[in-house]
């Protein structure tokens, strides 16, 4: 003990940008956020699973779901994960042009998915499933709506990224910013796979 008393750091000047875990602060924060999001969707999905069969009025799930249509839009969303990967790899090569290209395509695919969802909601509404029609309606629109909002926020982030990259206004590490948005985007995709399986594919 005596030997170590009054010791002082010799490399303390370089401590701040080397993180203790080796993972950058931003990336660690994004992982934590996504962990938290898991429970958000967990709660919403549980609510839906509890209530999907409770239809006192209005249509039953299997009466209105259009599986082929939703499969196509799910496929579109899955493809956007692929283009997102391409955007990240372009960003890591410091290839701004291709980064922007792939980001834009990702955003467009995402927008197609959201468009499909809007169409689907409209169709369901016409077939008599309103937000307040039944427990199934309330929980279905809440769950898929929350997911849709997440996709929309992702699209806004992608477009903002494109704008900032083309004007060279990204604060900090450009490739990492793209990667962070990518993490979020993949997460939203994975959540959709779970929702699609549980809500549409498994019969109630």
């Amino acid at each position: 003990m005596a030997d170590t008393a009054i010791a002082h750091g010799h490399d303390s000047g370089h401590g701040a940008h080397v993180t203790s875990t080796g993972l950058s602060n931003n990336k660690l924060a994004m992982w934590m956020f996504l962990g938290s999001e898991c429970l958000l969707f967990g709660g919403l999905i549980s609510t839906y699973m509890l209530y999907k069969g409770r239809v006192n009025s209005g249509p039953q799930p299997d009466q209105i779901f259009d599986i082929p249509f939703t499969s196509v839009s799910s496929f579109v969303l899955l493809m956007s994960s692929l283009t997102m990967v391409l955007a990240v790899s372009a960003a890591q090569r410091k290839d701004d042009r291709n980064t922007n290209l792939w980001l834009t395509i990702t955003a467009l695919l995402g927008a197609t998915f959201v468009g499909g969802q809007v169409y689907e909601f409209t169709a369901f509404y016409r077939e008599g499933l309103g937000f307040t029609t039944s427990l199934f309606g309330s929980s279905f629109y809440t769950l898929t709506g929350f997911h849709g909002v997440h996709v929309s926020v992702g699209i806004i982030m992608l477009m903002a990224l494109v704008g900032m990259i083309s004007r060279n206004r990204i604060p900090g590490n450009k490739a990492e910013s793209v990667e962070l948005v990518g993490l979020y985007w993949h997460f939203v995709d994975i959540v959709w796979i779970v929702i699609f399986t549980l809500v549409y594919l498994i019969p109630s």
């Binding site: 003990m1 005596a2 170590t4 008393a5 009054i6 010791a7 002082h8 750091g9 010799h10 490399d11 303390s12 000047g13 370089h14 401590g15 701040a16 940008h17 993180t19 203790s20 875990t21 993972l23 602060n25 931003n26 660690l28 924060a29 934590m32 956020f33 962990g35 938290s36 999001e37 898991c38 429970l39 958000l40 967990g42 709660g43 919403l44 609510t47 509890l50 209530y51 409770r54 006192n56 937000f131 307040t132 039944s134 427990l135 309606g137 309330s138 929980s139 809440t142 929350f146 903002a160 900032m164 206004r169 604060p171 900090g172 590490n173 910013s177």
Partner: protein
């Protein structure tokens, strides 16, 4: 000294002279705020210490509000058929008392300590995301104010803090109180969630060289566990609150029994959040006393790894016990058994902590300072609360006790006798670090004893009341159910109500102590290391400079500071002091780090946070206001995203001298 703090308007440079530095227009709409002294600085600051103090002041304000609500409740119950409040007011009062104490006092007060001391304890210069930190504070403050404006806009929430469905629907609670409640908690939830992510990243990523996880001070450990609990608990209550808001504002059917809804859904969601929440409230205080007991026992914490791990175990098992709040709600016997056993299991790591605290004192050299007194009281009172907790972990016994005053006694022993006593211990312990002056010990002793007597007088009799059948949440009690004899329930209700006044007097004495300490000229500046501390936060100035440490220390030991001050003789094993705190500090500061870039102040956090209650009012009253709020959120988020965390070198005019920019470090590139 080549310490550069930017973008303060005065920058110390080599030779000690100062040069005024004006920031140029930042990348956003606003000029980069640069004031460092006026009140404006408190609006735009991102300094974790200032935010910690702001958290503390705001939380203490809400403590007084919640305390007054509690006193009104006790005055109503001092006699049968009380007339102080009517039933409606009473229901609002106990709802808001609990909501305020849980969400607006204990949680943010723990956040105050965590904000201020975690970076200091791990040898960091700030948290990972200073602007998000500021945003979190403003969310909490505006959320809390928003929640309380309901009092003036038709009545506060009246469904109890647990807000069980379907009593929370507009049919049964037509005022806007519950709308304010759910949206206000949503806003403070954002504060907790962002704060959790921020502190987790800070603790995992920004420890000083050599500070392994198992060298972290125990307070930091407990804060880490709490942040993980928040990270996973907050989204669950978020879902519940969304369902409630959708039900009340948009006629969704989630809790509408006529549509086939199951009211127990709310209870499950609420308690999956609500039980971890209990540990969110108590663990920071466990951390505080685990710092204080060793300091005033002159011994390291007994079984440090076990205390740290038992904290983590409590956090983990805490997820599997939520339904013990629902033993009477009609779960089947199998579920009841499982949750009953899990609840008993959680008593083990909790008991381990108590044993370790007692063993820390055992064989020590105890100094009964005020923080030590509060800590010992916590150990004793928490033990009482813990043991009564075991009696209702036993599910059949709980069916007699739940929703009676016995439960009220239990959780006040845990949360007042435990959590709040821990926070007061923290006030007295860390006051000299934060404000350079030590709170008066003699006034502190009065403060302590009044609070101990008041607390036990108020909540002790509630054990009797509950076991003899007085239910909770009743605006009146009747003599017909109070029993006979001198010590009937009326007697204990009176004692309890008088106790609440004693307790209030104790808290008042704390406020008087603060005023006295800072106004009286007789109170001298505290020494650098008034308690002979053991951890890193004492190894810097009081209060610390904006960048905390001139040199980031390298850590070789648990209780690093103690080991720099004391040495053990190899043969006699005698422990002697080899250096004073001043000497340790001087030694460290002999070679200060160069080019310290501190994160720059920003307007965006407060503006973004301000938009949230506007959205809340909009949802309740007017869609135009709602649109304004949403537009404000979008605009401020863009402004935020465009603004770098640390102002770039060319953002200053003239450029900071002697700074080539090549060696600069950014603490938080995005945050």
């Amino acid at each position: 000294m080549a310490i550069i703090e930017r973008p303060s308007s005065e920058v110390a440079i080599a030779g000690g002279s100062t040069v005024g530095v004006k920031p140029s227009e930042a990348l956003g709409v606003f000029k980069r705020p640069a004031a460092s002294t006026s009140w404006r600085d408190w609006i735009v600051t991102v300094d974790h210490k200032k935010l910690g103090i702001m958290y503390g002041v705001a939380a203490f304000f809400f403590f007084i509000v919640g305390g007054l609500e509690a006193v009104l409740i006790r005055m109503q119950l001092i006699a049968p058929n009380g007339k102080v409040l009517n039933a409606d007011q009473y229901n609002q009062m106990f709802t808001m008392h609990a909501t305020t104490m849980v969400f607006l006092f204990v949680m943010p007060m723990a956040a105050a300590f965590a904000n201020y001391f975690v970076p200091l304890q791990i040898g960091a210069r700030d948290v990972a995301f200073p602007r998000i930190n500021a945003f979190g504070f403003w969310c909490f403050l505006f959320g809390g104010i928003f929640l309380n404006t309901a009092w003036f806009l038709g009545g506060a929430a009246d469904g109890g803090w647990f807000m069980y469905a379907p009593n929370s629907s507009t049919l049964f609670s037509p005022s806007h109180g519950i709308d304010f409640w759910s949206m206000g908690l949503q806003i403070t939830g954002i504060a907790s969630l962002t704060g959790a992510i921020n502190l987790i990243v800070t603790i995992l990523n920004m420890r000083a060289p050599g500070m392994k996880m198992m060298r972290m001070p125990i307070f930091t450990w407990m804060v880490l566990v709490v942040q993980f609990l928040l990270l996973f608990a907050i989204p669950v209550i978020t879902v519940a609150l969304f369902l409630l808001t959708f039900q009340r504002s948009f006629d969704a059917t989630f809790f509408d029994v006529a549509s086939g809804a199951d009211p127990l859904l709310w209870q499950h969601l609420f308690w999956i959040f609500g039980h971890p929440e209990v540990y969110i409230l108590i663990l920071p205080s466990f951390g505080i006393v685990s710092e204080i007991l060793p300091v005033f026992s002159k011994k390291p914490l007994f079984g440090y790894p076990i205390v740290a791990m038992s904290g983590a175990a409590i956090g983990f098992v805490g997820w599997g016990v939520w339904a013990h709040h629902m033993f009477a709600s009609g779960l089947g016997p199998v579920s009841v058994t499982v949750f009953s056993m899990a609840t008993m299991a959680i008593a083990v790591p909790t008991g381990v902590k108590i044993v370790n605290w007692v063993m820390t004192m055992w064989g020590g050299k105890l100094q009964f300072t005020v923080p030590m007194l509060f800590s010992i009281a916590l150990v004793v009172q928490f033990t009482i609360g813990g043991l009564s907790g075991v009696t209702h972990a036993v599910a059949p016994s709980d069916t007699q006790q739940t929703d009676t005053y016995y439960i009220v006694a239990h959780f006040h022993y845990v949360l007042f006798g435990g959590a709040i006593f821990g926070l007061f211990a923290g006030f007295y312990y860390w006051w000299p670090k934060m404000f350079r002056k030590q709170l008066s010990e003699s006034l502190g002793r009065w403060n302590f004893w009044l609070m101990v007597v008041g607390m036990n007088m108020t909540f002790g009799p509630m054990h009797m009341l509950g076991l003899q059948g007085q239910p909770r949440r009743m605006s009146v009690w009747t003599e017909a159910r109070a029993g006979e004899g001198f010590f009937n329930l009326g007697f204990w209700n009176r004692i309890s109500s008088i106790g609440s006044l004693v307790l209030s007097l104790g808290v008042l004495l704390f406020i008087i102590n603060v005023v006295y300490t800072h106004k009286s000229k007789k109170v001298a500046i505290a020494p650098l290391d008034p308690w002979d501390g053991r951890t890193l936060e004492w190894m810097t100035d009081s209060p610390p400079k904006e960048h905390n440490f001139d040199t980031i220390p390298t850590i070789n030991n648990l209780d690093e500071f103690f080991h720099r001050k004391y040495a053990q003789d190899a043969t006699t094993h005698e422990i002697t002091q080899v250096a004073t705190a001043e000497e340790v500090l001087a030694e460290m500061n002999a070679h200060p780090d160069e080019h310290i870039h501190m994160p720059s102040r920003s307007y965006w956090p407060i503006l973004l946070a301000l938009a949230l209650p506007i959205i809340g009012y909009g949802l309740i009253y007017n869609r135009v206001i709602l649109a304004v709020g949403v537009a404000m959120v979008v605009a401020t988020m863009f402004g935020w995203a465009m603004e770098p965390s640390t102002a770039a070198d060319d953002d200053f005019d003239p450029p900071a001298p002697g700074d080539g920019g090549g060696h600069t470090k950014e603490l938080a590139p995005l945050g």
